[in-house]
């Protein structure tokens, strides 16, 4: 029983941690419109899909327009990947840089 309590309190800590925010930097690539504000604080539990949706609204894209997001100008993270995972693996100087593009840039 004691183990249960330890684990559930660990889960609570995790839940609180995921509400914490991290800094992301949104950079335009190719023909994508540039944002006035590039730096955003987002919750760790936000997914790539949520960021793409957020960007689509900011950029006022048509529903027919495609939008791609890239890490390290190298690969497109899966839509269900979380900001926390990406930040833990690919952040530099305390922020996560995401490139966005209206056409496929890096495959």
């Amino acid at each position: 029983m004691e183990e249960d309590t330890v684990e559930s309190s660990a889960l609570k800590v995790n839940a609180a941690e995921n509400k914490e925010k991290i800094e992301i930097l949104l950079k335009a690539t190719g023909n994508a419109p540039i944002l006035k504000t590039k730096k955003w604080m987002v919750e760790k539990e936000k997914t790539v899909a949520a960021i793409i949706e957020f960007l689509r609204k900011l950029l006022k894209l048509d529903s027919s327009d495609a939008l791609f997001l890239y890490i390290n100008q190298a690969f497109a993270p899966s839509p269900d990947q979380t900001m926390k995972n990406l930040y833990d693996c690919y952040s530099t100087e305390g922020r996560l840089i995401l490139h966005y593009c209206k056409t496929q840039a890096w495959g």
Binding site: E7, N72, C89
Partner: protein, 266 residues
């Protein structure tokens, strides 16, 4: 890379017996559809093996709903098509007890769970998702130096090897991705962590060797990531892995085809 090729064959041939059934609420008409049985490769992805399943059940679904995207569910949990099939199966392992085979999966066409699943518009979506994972893995292992120098036809060997279940075709190219480019070790180990009973995944930077130059073992890695857990068991491909296994060896021999290790902590 991989000198122990026997294990590569062994894991490639891993299959699961699945029994697909249409959700009772979605049966249209008086005739109940027969369940559909299939042996599916653990290493593959559901959208790549479910064409026949869809065809079998489609005639039993309301014609107005036949155009909707088919999705899968087990014990009220929607199954992510972008995880390898073997990973999804192992997520339901509890206390050393694996799900009984055949694995009874429920088919749905209606009420797509938008908040839990990403849509899979077509086979191309699976391909681009798979290729992106490989690229990411190569960035972690070799700072993107290998995948980018491969030709387009070499990339397509990887994909068609998976699609057509051709081991030699896949490994003729994949072996290049599984060789350390500097010394005996990858820069980082591509790895996804899961806890059984949950579909969420965590990922961190994992090094194959410690600062003092020793190989990091699975046991050490798990202790680092799950400090509060008391002696957890670690599964991949349905196998409980000994704690003394070096993570570099695991990465070369026990990665799924997307070049990531998928580790389930029970």
């Amino acid at each position: 890379m991989a000198n122990d090729t026997e294990i590569l064959h062994y894991l490639w041939n891993g299959k699961l017996a699945v029994c697909f059934q249409l959700d009772e609420q979605e049966i249209h008409g008086i005739q109940n559809p027969e369940p559909f049985y299939l042996m599916v490769p653990r290493m593959s992805y559901f959208p790549l093996v479910c064409d026949k399943v869809k065809k079998h059940f489609l005639k039993h679904v309301d014609p107005e709903k036949q155009e909707l995207e088919m999705w899968l569910e087990y014990k009220d949990i929607p199954l992510k098509w972008n995880y390898p099939i073997g990973v999804i199966y192992d997520l339901f392992t509890i206390d050393n007890k694996q799900v009984d085979l055949p694995w009874k999966i429920t088919i749905h066409f209606d009420n797509f769970p938008e908040d839990k699943l990403i849509r899979c518009s077509c086979r191309d979506a699976v391909e681009s998702n798979f290729m992106s994972s490989m690229k990411e893995a190569d960035m972690l292992k070799h700072r993107s130096q290998v995948f980018a120098t491969m030709q387009r036809h070499q990339h397509s060997q990887l994909w068609t090897g998976l699609l057509n279940d051709k081991f030699d075709q896949f490994w003729s190219e994949n072996k290049k991705l599984m060789e350390p480019t500097e010394g005996n070790y990858f820069k980082h180990i591509p790895i996804h962590f899961y806890q059984s009973g949950s579909t969420s995944m965590t990922q961190t930077l994992v090094k194959p060797i410690s600062d003092d130059g020793n190989q990091i073992t699975l046991g050490e890695l798990i202790k680092l990531h799950y400090p509060s857990m008391d002696n957890p068991k670690v599964f991949t491909h349905g196998i409980c892995i000994p704690k003394e296994t070096p993570v570099q060896w695991m990465s070369e021999h026990m990665s799924y085809l997307d070049n990531f290790l998928h580790i389930i902590v029970v």
